[in-house]
């Protein structure tokens, strides 16, 4: 359009500069956001429980149903809570990592069989190996709701004071263990 060109030419220099740099700046900001968005998993919803005390529970143990485990029992040590289920396909993917972790004896891992029948859970553990210091059963998924579990497997890092410090949503990876979880565990164990 000839009119706008003429108007632009008639404007003082700074405005003219703004005329193309402002849209470009907005474009670059939007581009930046979209680019970052490419590498984010929309399924990973940040948990509001991080930095908060782990919900209190008292659940029957998988191997000894007459005994329970409570949140209080784990006080004074850094521990991992691994939420799994015999019906969960991706739990099988992370399981070898947990078995290795158990062998390394770095940190106690408590297994929570989520919405699982004890007999199914036991069968699954004897078939795939039992890396857990203790297993508990959350048959109706109530404790799962309290922990905000929505995609099994999930792994929580809980510190000596019983505060949730980290949550891994979905299967553990060697990378996540090495770069995030284990360094965090070591830090927490020192304090």
């Amino acid at each position: 359009m000839p009119t706008t060109n003429a108007a632009a030419e008639s404007k003082p220099a700074p405005m003219k500069w703004l005329r193309w740099s402002l849209p470009l700046a907005i474009f670059l900001v939007v581009l930046g956001f979209l680019f970052v968005g490419l590498f984010r998993d929309p399924r990973e919803v940040p948990s509001p429980l991080i930095g908060k005390p782990a919900p209190a529970f008292s659940l029957a143990q998988l191997h000894r149903p007459d005994r329970t485990l409570t949140t209080q029992d784990m006080r004074g040590q850094v521990w991992l809570l691994n939420v799994w289920a015999s019906w969960c396909v991706s739990c099988k993917v992370e399981h070898p990592l947990l078995v290795d972790l158990a062998k390394a004896k770095i940190v106690p891992v408590i297994g929570l069989a989520y919405k699982d029948k004890p007999e199914d859970g036991l069968a699954w553990l004897s078939a795939n190996g039992d890396p857990y210091q203790l297993s508990i059963v959350d048959g109706d998924g109530r404790v799962g709701i309290d922990f905000g579990v929505y995609g099994v497997p999930e792994t929580f890092v809980i510190d000596k004071a019983g505060v949730i410090r980290y949550k891994q949503i979905g299967p553990l990876t060697a990378e996540a263990l090495k770069q995030t979880i284990l360094p965090l565990v070591r830090d927490l164990q020192k304090s």
Binding site: S10, P48, F147
Partner: protein
């Protein structure tokens, strides 16, 4: 008129009587069964009916809550096992006398603001809530400036005759089109 029934002592009679009694028994059993069925249906209907007010309230509430497993569905729509559990939980909380706000707070404490389809207004969501209005205001500001500049243009001597002539030609062409 009633007359005393003659009781014939024949094999045929006994056979008939037996059949009759059996039939009666079956009939009675059948009646009992249908009564039981009706009773069961009635209880089921009562249980299903429940409290229509509560049902309506829960339906509205569940339509405002997100299912975390299938993230584009509400708690009311989703068939995911977790959604079922959460619906059950929500109902139990409601029956226990919790308000809608209490229930929302309960879920937000566990799953974060993400469970709400309508995010709360707070410092981290200001951009989300007010950003569009800021953008709209900016757009209007740009629009108004452009319009004003255009309005000033015909008076602007620096415009140049060529532009004015083009404009004039365009206007007369448009007039001609309109007049047709």
């Amino acid at each position: 008129m009633r007359h005393v029934r003659r009781v014939p002592d024949t094999a045929e009679f006994h056979l008939r009587r037996g059949l009759h009694l059996r039939h009666r028994g079956l009939h009675l059993r059948h009646r009992g069964l249908s009564l039981l069925c009706a009773g069961l249906l009635w209880t089921a209907a009562l249980a299903a009916q429940g409290d229509p007010e509560l049902d309506a309230r829960l339906k509205t509430l569940e339509n405002e809550l997100r299912c975390l497993v299938c993230q584009n569905q509400t708690l009311a729509e989703s068939n995911a096992p977790l959604a079922e559990d959460l619906r059950k939980e929500v109902r139990e909380l409601a029956v226990a006398g919790k308000s809608n706000d209490d229930i929302r707070a309960y879920l937000v404490a566990r799953y974060g603001d993400f469970v709400l389809y309508k995010p709360p207004v707070k410092a981290t969501t200001y951009v989300l809530w007010f950003g569009p209005f800021v953008l709209l205001a900016a757009g209007v500001a740009v629009w108004v400036t452009v319009l004003r500049r255009r309005a000033r243009m015909p008076a602007d001597e620096t415009l140049g005759d060529a532009a004015a002539a083009t404009d004039g030609a365009a206007v007369s062409r448009a007039r001609a089109l309109l007049d047709e």
